[in-house]
């Protein structure tokens, strides 16, 4: 951990790397792919992945390289990594409710578990993390707590993203109260609300803006 931090610091200090890997992490169905699509559409004009209301739609790590983002005259090149949602359980029976056939549901569950393992592996290869949370739900889940604790131990900068603030029942203040030590941006990835605040935060907290 200490050695990893030292290497990161040396890289940052000498600017040995031109771009940063921005990992989009969080539980399932919090809007990670919607956010990745929003960022990609804003800066490249292309979408990144398919969005669905069925959990575990993203089961493989999606990458978009060299996306140049700009805010307040500062620029940064990012490699966006849209991660499968992290979960402690994957039950194929849940997918049957969405009218998916049993065989397909089991296949989806198998792929989903591999996706979670893959997302965890990638924690060692990201420079900055957007920890996305659904502002309409309770943020004090064990997945969020474990994810943030892990990133803190690795010394990786984290920006909390309170997503879905366009919905009436959204309570982003709950996220602020639960994790007051992290910078928080309140957005609606779907509507693009406050998205510029997110770009500003990414440039500010990634420490590599030119």
């Amino acid at each position: 951990m200490v050695f990893g931090r030292l290497v990161n610091w040396i890289r940052n200090f000498f600017r040995l790397r031109q771009d940063i890997s921005l990992g989009i992490y969080g539980c399932t169905n919090v809007g990670k792919t919607t956010l990745a699509n929003r960022i990609c559409m804003d800066w490249t004009g292309e979408e990144m992945g398919k969005v669905s209301r069925i959990p575990h739609e993203t089961r493989l790590v999606q990458k978009k390289e060299k996306v140049l983002i700009e805010s307040n005259g500062k620029k940064i090149n990012i490699n966006i990594l849209d991660m499968p949602g992290i979960a402690t359980k994957v039950d194929y029976r849940k997918f049957l409710k969405y009218k998916i056939k049993k065989r397909a549901a089991k296949k989806r569950a198998r792929e989903a578990t591999k996706g979670v393992v893959e997302a965890i592996k990638w924690l060692n290869h990201v420079d900055t993390v957007l920890a996305v949370m659904d502002a309409t739900k309770d943020p004090l889940t064990q997945v969020n707590i474990t994810l943030l604790g892990n990133l803190e131990a690795k010394g990786i900068p984290v920006i909390l993203v309170a997503n879905k603030v366009d919905l009436r029942r959204a309570k982003p203040q709950n996220i602020k109260e639960a994790f007051p030590q992290y910078p928080l941006v309140e957005i609606s990835a779907l509507r693009g609300k406050n998205i510029n605040n997110l770009y500003e935060a990414v440039i500010k907290h990634s420490r590599k803006a030119k």
Binding site: K89, T113, V117, I120, Q142, T146, G149, N150
Partner: protein, 141 residues
Amino acid sequence: MKKSKMKLKIDFVSSVALDSKTGQKRINFILNKVKDGSILVVNGVLTPDEEMDLIRETMRRVDDGFPGIEVCSLKKQVKGWGQFLATLGNGREKLSSSIWAGITGNPPKTKLKTGITLIGPAKIIKNIKKNPDSFSVLAEM
């Protein structure tokens, strides 16, 4: 009609029992018990790395009969100088266990932190409501 009896097994495990196990053995111990249908209550908390390893290993073991786990932990909150000293202590402990592991060739042992952890099969535990200093569990057989 005869009513079938539903049984729920709860294992209370002392931190000493887990302190004596190294990383992977600790995770295996927990998951073997949970996969057998037990709810485990431990008087200690895993490190963030171990918690992530637990999730990863759980995902590898998920099958039709075992959809995964529900887990919840309460850590002792330390702030200010206490937090600084705890960080120093953690660093010292990690360094000494790494050196010991290097000499003996065995994986390093880390002690559980102060707190309480509940881990159970997702099939039984339907919901965990967590607050900063408490949590309640809803189990259904």
